[in-house]
Amino acid sequence: MKIKYTDVLIIGGGLAGLRVAAGVKQRGHDAVVLSLVPPKRSHSAAAQGGMQASLANSNMGEGDNEDVHFSDTIKGSDWGADQEVARMFVHCAPKAIRELAHWGVPWSRVQAGERNAIINAQKVTITEKEEAHGLITARDFGGTKKWRTCYTSDGTGHSMLYAMDNKAKQEEVVIHERQEAISLITDNGRCYGAISRNLRTGQLTAYVAKATTVATGGYGRIYSVSTNAIICQGVGQALALETGIATLGNMEAIQFHPTAIVPVGILTTEGCRGDGGLLLDKDGYRFMPDYEPEKKELASRDVVSRRMTEHMRKGKGVKSRYGDHLWLDITILGREHIEKNLREVKEICEHFLGIDPAVDWIPVRPTQHYSMGGIRTKYTGESQTLKGLYSCGEAACWDLHGFNRLGGNSVSETVVAGMMVAEHIADFCDSPESSMHIDSLVIEKALHTQKERLEALLNKENGEDAYVLRRRMEEIMMEKVGIFRNGKDLQEAVDELEELYKRSKNIEVFRCKSRAANPALVNAYRTQMMIKVALTVALGALLRTESRGAHSREDFPARDDANWLKRTITSWPDANQTLPSVTYEDIPIASMELPPGFRGYGKDLTEHHPDTQARQDAVDAVRKELEQSGASRFEIQNALMPYLDKVPPKYQGLNERLGENV
């Protein structure tokens, strides 16, 4: 039996996981990262368009600050986000980006003087300030009041991940590649690490740790078409679920990105529209202004995806052998701009579509893209119910995004959450309560259980084909738990997924019986885990009888704050259950800095909570009084919803901007 001890085990080698690893290492704790792939190949690398941080350097970002970023994020979330978490996030985002600049990310910079840009299909001239020259610039993204999305061309995630991985190497973080955590070790309500399978040799190892962090990204691959990398299968969420103790939050909150190419579902960045690209229908007609006259193509992602789907349902889509699609037109941006700032998009168009986006329109349609839900944690990143288990980044629901994430807030979240959660974990490891009390017999038993589980899959006869079950699950999710949802389809989805789940207990690994590198075995156990995750999504969606953010019910079109201003919490306490358990967690209005309101898209159908008006009045009164007494925006914010004491001390300082806090 192979057992390894460390202080902090991190499952997942993307931006969030590596940032946690580097952070705890800097605090003097040992860290081991388990990664399915070389960390630089993690899905973080695919983030194209940029990272939101309110630096306010560029002309179109002038006047931006934490308050504006906060308000955009909360509205974007359709008031589903945890407002304290959002405050911590917007406060730390400028620090995170400056840290990454220090570690080597070649952020695109402000060039003083005049430059041309395309805004609302018009050529405009923007003049950048002399004093901003050489500072980090930003582009426009959907759902934001200011140009706030910082970038390196359209390879932002790639540059960030490379800098981060290099930093982790410099910090001598131990990284074990091609290792797959297949089960968490728990004892007496505490998580003590994970059982991991070496994907090359098949060897099982128990990694025993004081703190375990799941940073495995989202679960997009439970859908048949997703922009996600093929490793984003929700295994991290399943690991938590299978402890029976940890909980998941808002699993039904799934984002569809408006512009993935057809048919393969590869993303073209929101930066295409942020930089001035347009959406056109089969007649070459620009339809978004008809639906959303104010924000047009740059409405929030959930809104644009729904409007596109509506428009295609009206027969305005372009017919193709792969179904209907619309066009993304970036030709108006000009070749020079595309070859400098949208290079990945250009390469993708050339290689996968055989077109030149400087000349041709790009066939696009909304495609599964992001998982707002995930492992439910406190603001510290620790599971609400399982001590010693932490999670951050897309894998987690701490809950920054509520029911819709803004473009540019996800890569930003990975590093911001990573830097904060690392401090909380390090504090935990410094405290006596982190001391481990686990019998080696428990560890050996955990190892043995996993060995048996794999042997059972390999030795099964006359069982089910994992591929058949998985493909059916993907289709169900796509057809019945998609952009528009309704009770009938969702009920069918839950029923059928439950049936698939029962069948999945009987999966057999056909022919290929190797105990070492064995893709069939991997597919078998992951399929079992994925179906569980799919069930939490479908059941959460069925039960939530309202529309909020990306969760859009045709039979319940209103956002219903009176009954649904709460988070869906799913767990799987008994391994014999065939459906997850669902409970709810209220989102308290009384402490909100920004009480629920109208997002400003379409018709306002909101059914308000009875407490909303009282809180709004209280907020208005405080604001008025403090404004009259000449209080700063920081003092006003602090009076409404104090949060700074929850931010790790080293990150509590105010952010400097041109003309502020200098």
Binding site: H102, W103, T152, H158, T201, F352, A517, N523, L658
Partner: protein
């Protein structure tokens, strides 16, 4: 839609499982009906799902971004995910990239090789004296310089340049174009405070920039079109200058 019948592709794959003592390297051919817009990613997944579930290969992003799926396609190193079958003959040969440790079939251990390279070249910003104040404005950088650094930062560590390198076949310690490009990237970056002498100590020998015989297979096969030739030449000039000091 076209009435023409789809081609039947004949995909010959070099198979070998080093974990199986009875296995030996051999070619195996699979037939797959071509579809519109088909890539080698789709082909290989079809084979695995419907013909041989043991077939091992590596894809992650499947969008030409992550560099996982480099392999020899008809003998030439390239990214399989973005290789359209329509651009190939109906007989297609696939083999793992040479020089890297083989995991199984088309799956290779590039991660280990690249990690060793990073540790050897210390591919991170060396800036000991300066402690970051998170709250302050970021250090300025000329916009053109940032763009120039990004240009070199675009490397995806796919290993195609290593597989396409004549020199590395004879000298396994050669850092390859991937390594030299990384050094050029940090050399260009004013945030990295390493001196010319320090750089010389890393690559000023036959395992580094003086090992390159200028065959330039690297630049021919680089899927990201990195300016490898000019950067190697630039580094060589810099290192000669330092050596003559």
């Amino acid at each position: 839609m076209s009435e023409e019948k789809n081609r039947i592709l004949k995909i010959s794959i070099l198979r070998f499982d080093p974990n199986d003592p009875e296995d030996f390297p051999h070619m195996e051919t699979f037939e797959v009906e071509e579809a519109h817009g088909m890539t080698l990613y789709i082909v290989l997944n079809e084979i695995r799902e419907h013909q041989d579930n043991a077939l091992m290969f590596d894809f992650v992003c499947r969008a030409g971004i992550c560099g996982s799926c480099s392999m020899l396609v008809n003998g030439r190193p390239t990214l399989a995910c973005r290789t359209l079958t329509s651009k190939l003959d109906e007989n297609i040969t696939l083999a793992p990239l040479p020089l890297f440790e083989l995991i199984k079939d088309l799956s290779i251990y590039t991660g280990k090789w690249m990690r060793g390279l990073d540790e050897r070249l210390e591919t991170w910003i060396h800036n000991e004296e300066e402690k970051l104040n998170y709250d302050k404005l970021e250090e300025r950088m000329e916009p053109d310089l940032a763009d120039e650094i990004y240009e070199l930062d675009r490397c995806v560590e796919c290993g195609c340049c290593v597989a396409g390198c004549g020199n590395i076949q004879m000298n396994n310690d050669f850092v390859g174009a991937v390594g030299l490009n990384k050094v050029a990237r940090y050399h260009l970056d004013p945030r990295d405070k390493r001196t010319e002498e320090e750089y010389y100590n890393i690559i000023g020998d036959e395992d580094g920039v003086f090992g390159c015989m200028s065959l330039l297979g690297c630049e021919d096969v680089c899927p990201k079109d990195l300016p490898l030739q000019s950067k190697i030449a630039y580094l060589r000039r810099m290192m000669v200058k330092t050596a003559l000091k």
